[in-house]
């Protein structure tokens, strides 16, 4: 009897084509034929890009104040394709934040967070915050003037949180001030703790989607005679692959045309005239400039809490006013405020 590798594997992994089809080929609602409804997969795709490019960058990166900047300079100027990898990593981070925001807007305005998907909204919120934190820690690793002072300012902001602020700051910096241990702490968070947590949450996010199914939308202009669903494989898979290819081209172009630059090396004795965080913190930075320290931090904390709790608040509102669309109007105001504050901060030097 001849040896068949396929049989050998099937005997040990008892999953056949039927089970695989069942596992992967869930019916997909028709609106997902349009690519702009499919942006939920984009952050996941970019997350994979970040993992791959991050591992390659970690081969060269040395997380200590004495070596960090030089190792990033080595990656950028000397290592083969190091500049390209760094560019991909940087732009993928930017696009990842953008994709998460776009995805969350879609989920929010279509009410896709409502029962029974409240828990998945909470998971999504955690992923949003983790995406921002992983961006913050990554930016700090470069150890250039602005990233150093950005981290210092970030730590000082947490210091404004009543009662626990001082401990949060110590947890972040590994001491009272930015010190020898801070960079290694940021590195471990950025390259291990946060990605592993995110990977687990992404898995949970996808599992919950699979268990609950994708929210179905029925637009008036739909052909009712057509089936309401289509196959995941190959139709939706091809859409996702197409988006992935476009993203890869976009990332390559951005990394080549606008490569990641290096500012001056961090100097703890010289505070720069202008300190700016990464762009996705512009909204928070502007907010902090508008209000005093503790008030700004507490109000931001309240906003984040309200965002977490929104499915439950919305449910209470709709319990009393079932036709209420308050969430849409609140969302419009909120989104416009975020855009306006971000553009404001980007427009001014100080």
């Amino acid at each position: 009897m001849s040896f068949s590798p396929l049989t050998w594997i099937r005997e040990r992994v008892p999953v056949g084509p039927e089970q695989l089809r069942e596992l992967t080929n869930e019916p997909v609602p028709n609106h997902l034929k349009k690519w702009w409804w499919c942006l939920g997969g984009t952050p996941a795709y970019l997350f994979v890009v970040q993992i791959v490019t991050g591992i390659l960058l970690a081969f060269y990166y040395k997380p200590s104040p004495q070596t960090a900047y030089e190792s990033v300079r080595y990656i950028t100027e000397e290592a083969s394709f190091g500049w390209f990898l760094r560019g991909l990593h940087k732009w993928a981070a930017t696009l990842m934040v953008a994709a998460v925001v776009l995805h969350q807007m879609r989920v929010y305005f279509t009410g896709a967070y409502r029962k029974p998907r409240e828990l998945n909204w909470l998971v999504g919120m955690c992923l949003l915050l983790l995406t921002l934190i992983v961006g913050f820690t990554g930016y700090s690793l470069v150890y250039e003037q602005l990233s150093y002072w950005g981290a210092t300012v970030g730590a000082n902001i947490t210091d404004n949180v009543p009662i626990v602020g001082v401990y949060l700051k110590q947890l972040l910096l590994g001491g009272e001030v930015y010190n020898e241990n801070t960079l290694s702490r940021f590195f471990i968070l950025h390259a291990a703790v946060l990605p592993v947590t995110m990977a687990a949450l992404i898995a949970l996010h996808v599992t919950l989607i699979r268990l609950q199914g994708v929210t179905e939308f029925h637009f008036r202009d739909e052909d009712r005679k057509q089936p309401a669903f289509f196959n995941f494989i190959p139709d939706h898979l091809l859409t996702e692959l197409s988006i992935g290819l476009v993203l890869m081209v976009l990332l390559s172009v951005l990394a080549t045309v606008l490569p990641a630059e290096m500012g001056p090396k961090a100097d703890p004795l010289s505070t720069p005239e202008v300190i700016k965080p990464e762009w996705f913190f512009y909204v928070a930075f502007r907010w902090l400039k508008l209000f005093s320290g503790t008030l700004a931090v507490l109000s931001m904390g309240l906003i984040v809490f309200l965002m977490y709790a929104w499915p439950f608040i919305d449910a209470r509102i709709r319990k009393f006013r079932p036709q209420s669309e308050a969430s849409v109007w609140i969302g419009i105001v909120g989104a416009l405020a975020i855009i306006a504050l971000t553009v404001w901060e980007a427009s001014v030097a100080h």
């Binding site: 029925h218 500012g263 005239e273 980007a346």
Partner: protein
């Protein structure tokens, strides 16, 4: 609310977000490019300077371009911040609605850079204009030129000169490095300077009679004396009484720190036969390394601290002015703070300075101690801090021992005897009191002012060829082959013309000097030869 409406909301907000993202990324990328030096920073012309920039971009585009590339422009320091004059300033004039002055003095720079201006004001650089009453200036004003117009020998075809300006050599030579006494034209044909205006502490003239005599053009602008302006000499004596010119090192309008850090900047003045510091630097290992490692010098760094921002090589600025990791990055605008010997005079002096930063000449140890405010040892320690960024203590001490030995050898073997002979000649009436009217005075001047300085500067900056061949070799040749014979000749000439006693004194001094062990080699064999011939001199 329909699903289609919500779809529209999502589309609108997503588009708004993406457009804002493009804007934010454009700003971010521009900012990063500026930080990394890959693009010029965005310049916001201050409101008070918009009219100046618009007009001068047409009339003097290079000037505006220089300013546009400057840190000043980057930080919103415009034209009026430097050029604005106060009512009553002797050189102020109304110019399209603003009251401005052409010359920007250390007092003007000091409005923002007060500490730097004060430090510079104490330095030897700021006092460079004091040469106006020196031997060097006598050379330029009298020997090379004339303190007054020089009549024409014959017409110059094609040109209609009335006379030659006797001060031309001093104006374009000495004063462009040392600094001129800036002057305005007077209605009586003279030149009005700080001596006439007698400015008070606020820089405003107190002699209003002199102010009334200032000649102005049709626009009311005071006319500068062309023999004193333009001038960017480092010790310029300004109309407001301040000393110096910041633009001597920092260049006008672009105020480039990068340029001030490079040896070529100092080389405008510190070169040539009498103080070739730039050439000496280029011969030294420091200069060789600088040329090789220019790309690693990080010349655009904000602070440019040796040992932190760069280590490739030290430049003039590194050793004499800039900060280093050993001194906490402290910059000085008084280059004398780190110099332990002054090799400028005929005889090198230890740089013990008093409260006014003048070298203490007192020889009594007790009195000297009371007068000295900053010792040569303290100055040397400051310089050694620079050295120690790259060199061990043993290495540095070894170098300074070699340097001290060299200077002391020059002083004792040639400079002090030479000066004694020159003084003896004049004290005994064997040469005139006027400088440069006798060959021996030129000989002596070459010996200490040119060759002696070259030798000492060569030793101070580790340039062996300048220390030896362009230095001590030529000092020795000048001493033995020219100075000694010329002094003897003058003595013999005096003896023949009724000054036998005086001649004996000078000849005795020469013999005393030559009898010292270090000079005995010179006439040992010559004396034997002359004795054999029965011609030994008395």
């Amino acid at each position: 609310m329909t699903l289609e409406f919500k779809r529209g909301v999502i589309a609108f907000l997503s588009a708004a977000f993406l457009v804002s993202l493009l804007f934010v990324q454009w700003r971010e990328v521009s900012r990063r490019a500026e930080e990394s030096g890959h693009s010029k920073p965005h310049i916001n012309v201050p409101a008070t300077s918009v009219a100046c920039v618009d007009c001068h971009a047409q009339s003097t585009p290079g000037l505006v371009a220089h300013w546009t590339g400057s840190k000043h422009a980057e930080r919103g320091v415009g034209c009026l911040e430097c050029h604005e004059a106060q009512k009553g300033d002797v050189d102020g004039f109304d110019h399209y609605g603003a009251h401005v002055a052409t010359v920007v003095t250390p007092n003007d720079c000091g409005r923002c850079h007060a500490d730097v201006a004060a430090e510079f004001g104490r330095s030897h650089h700021a006092k460079g204009g004091n040469i106006l009453a020196s031997l060097d200036n006598f050379l330029a004003e009298v020997v090379e030129g004339n303190r007054g117009p020089v009549g024409l020998h014959s017409p110059t075809p094609g040109r209609a000169f009335v006379h030659a300006n006797g001060m031309a050599s001093a104006n374009t030579g000495c004063q462009q490095c040392h600094g001129a006494k800036v002057g305005l034209e007077s209605s009586d044909g003279k030149i009005l300077t700080v001596d006439d205006f007698k400015p008070g502490l606020d820089g405003k003239p107190t002699n209003l009679d002199a102010v009334a005599r200032v000649v102005k053009d049709q626009n009311g602008r005071p006319k500068f004396s062309s023999s004193t302006w333009p001038n960017t000499g480092i010790g310029r004596i300004n109309l407001d009484g301040s000393l110096g010119s910041c633009s001597a090192c920092h260049s006008r309008h672009d105020f480039s720190p990068r340029r001030a850090r490079q040896p070529e900047n100092c080389g405008k003045c510190h070169l040539g036969p009498d103080h070739p510091q730039k050439e000496i630097y280029e011969e030294s290992k420091h200069g060789v390394a600088f040329r090789d490692l220019l790309g690693e010098m990080n010349l655009d760094a904000d602070e440019w601290v040796l040992g932190k921002d760069y280590t490739g090589a030290p430049t003039c600025a590194s050793c004499h002015m800039s900060g280093n990791v050993r001194n906490g990055g402290r910059i000085t605008h008084d280059p004398g703070e780190r110099i332990s010997w002054t090799n400028r005079p005929a005889i090198s002096l230890a740089m013990d300075t008093d409260l006014d930063h003048k070298i203490v000449g007192e020889t009594d140890p007790e009195k000297r101690r009371a007068l000295v405010h900053d010792t040569w040892e303290a100055k040397r320690t400051r310089m050694q801090e620079v050295c120690s960024v790259c060199h061990s203590t043993e290495y540095i001490n070894g170098f300074y021992k070699q340097y001290d030995d060299f200077v002391v050898l020059y002083n004792e073997k040639f400079a002090k005897p030479g000066l004694r002979m020159m003084k003896a000649l004049v004290e005994n009436g064997l040469r005139t009191k006027a400088d440069f009217d006798e060959e021996v005075e030129w000989t002596w001047y070459y010996l200490w002012h040119h060759e002696g300085r070259r030798a000492r500067h060569g030793a101070s900056m580790m340039a062996p060829d300048y220390a030896h061949w362009h230095g001590m070799f030529e000092v020795a040749e000048r001493f033995y082959m020219e100075l000694i014979p010329q002094v003897r000749e003058l003595a013999e000439h005096g003896r023949e013309h009724g000054k036998a006693a005086e001649a004996e004194i000078v000849l005795a001094l020469v013999n005393e000097i030559l009898a010292r062990p270090e000079h005995q080699w010179y006439e040992r064999d010559l004396a034997k030869m002359r004795a054999e011939r029965g011609k030994e001199p008395k």
